[in-house]
Subunit: 290 residues, 2 copies
């Protein structure tokens, strides 16, 4: 990725690592567990999108930092809860033991709960005008609620026991993954002072690359190292049940990713004059192998 | 309680029962589980306080309804998560099976997660001016985060394994119970257009009756039916470990409740001219037997 990505990532890491030093008096171990997951790496795609959409909408990315990091806190909470024994029951995340494996289930539930509240708090404590604070928090709440990631995770859990329909699969991914990526883009646009047409373009861009992102994840889950080695399309041997791979196979999945990315690129290029980095980011996400 | 209380309760129940019909397309069973806990009775103390503080600050209680019900959604999420097997592992709440007993742990975690987001959403979708929407959501986030109910619940869970200090016990109750009652009062004052002195009085009133409320809960937990029968002070037979009863015994607890309630009454009476119902409410909460 380019230099701007690394500069964004740097200020995001700095904000996240300092946020709880300044503003919280909470019990030390609960804070530890929140920071463990919040500062455990990750590509920071969502907050980077917020900062860049702010910039190409005419704003200063620094102004969007508390909003961008709010999105990352929300995302981190959802990962902690998704990993819980009663959800995906995962022992590892990004190669490290999951939150509940390190801190226990009680603390992990509370760390997630607190990170959701802190996500809103980061936005609402920012120095932005009230109209922008309220609008960004509203967008976050839409993406976080029952029609957003919680509804999506619920459908995902339902799919453990039964086969989802194609419509349900797409709905699950739109809610669980695309809604928050889309929200990240929209919030950046709002902070940067975008007009309605641009906010709508940010929403559509985010939704399309969010879906492409999820389909790529499905391919990587099924093909693993084969995907990384760039083996020819059609080399997948096993299919996930309620995944795009399970429904469509690798060839059609690669085609869908290309179409979604192309559509996202066109939308962004039409609405924003300085969209080079956003287009590059869409391409990187499409081609990634991890 | 007086007629105004019942009218407030009626419009709160109506808003809560209709909220998800209008605005949500979420999976039916997840919504069912949210509504199961949200509409399972309860005294609605917090939202009633929001509506009444709005009124005595010069506002129309109807304007504060989405804010008041946001507080109740937040409170409901915290009850669902507090009852989970990895927390208090409770099978009953208000005489009914707890959420996870009816819907399973996976759904209960997600219902709580979604209700937290919806609490913010209710406030942020309201027709209030942006400044009030943002300020109310900020107050809610403060009370919900790591320095609020999550920090309090964490201390409560710590206390399962060890004896808290008196300072920790008070801190636990301030965070876990008083912070959200205080926030409910402040938000009502903000919506009603209160000045800074009145908002500060609302905060102090809420914190004091919140602590009194928790001490009364401790007495009822320990004395049970004895408390209801109004047996003389000192008749308690067993003491909770990390509770006010465990630290101080019943006589001192009754005295603390009286002092806190008196202080709350004086604060409210000094800052608001039409505080009769608020004072009555403080008295009712002090004397309650359930």
């Amino acid at each position: 990725m380019n230099e701007r990505y690394h500069e964004y990532k740097r200020i995001i890491e700095k904000y996240l690592s300092e946020y709880f030093d300044v503003s919280c008096k909470a019990p030390a171990l609960l804070l530890d567990s929140m920071r463990y997951s919040l500062l455990s790496g990750g590509k920071r795609i969502r907050p980077v999108l917020t900062l860049e959409f702010c910039r190409i909408s005419g704003g200063n990315p620094d102004d969007a930092l508390p909003v961008a990091c709010g999105v990352e806190m929300l995302h981190t909470y959802s990962l902690i809860h998704d990993d819980l024994p009663c959800m995906d029951n995962d022992a590892l995340r990004r190669g490290m033991p999951t939150n509940h494996k390190v801190y226990g289930e009680t603390t992990a539930v509370l760390a997630g709960d607190a990170l959701q509240a802190e996500a809103f708090r980061s936005i609402l404590l920012s120095g932005l005008p009230a109209e922008k604070r309220a609008e960004c928090a509203r967008i976050l709440a839409d993406a976080a609620g029952v029609d957003g990631i919680c509804g999506g995770q619920y459908l995902d859990m339902l799919g453990e026991d039964c086969r989802l329909s194609e419509t349900e699969l797409r709905l699950m991914c739109e809610k669980k993954t695309a809604s928050m990526i889309s929200a990240a883009c929209m919030m950046g646009a709002v902070v940067g002072g975008a007009d309605d047409r641009q906010i709508s373009a940010a929403e559509s861009f985010g939704r399309n690359i969010g879906l492409a992102f999820q389909i790529r994840d499905d391919i990587l889950d099924v093909c693993g190292a084969d995907a990384e080695l760039g083996k020819p399309v059609g080399s997948d041997v096993r299919e996930g049940k309620n995944t795009f791979m399970g429904f469509y196979g690798r060839e059609r999945c690669e085609q869908m990713i290309a179409e979604l990315t192309d559509s996202a690129r066109k939308t962004a290029a039409a609405a924003f004059s300085d969209s080079e980095f956003i287009l590059e980011l869409a391409d990187e996400l499409m081609k990634r192998y991890s």
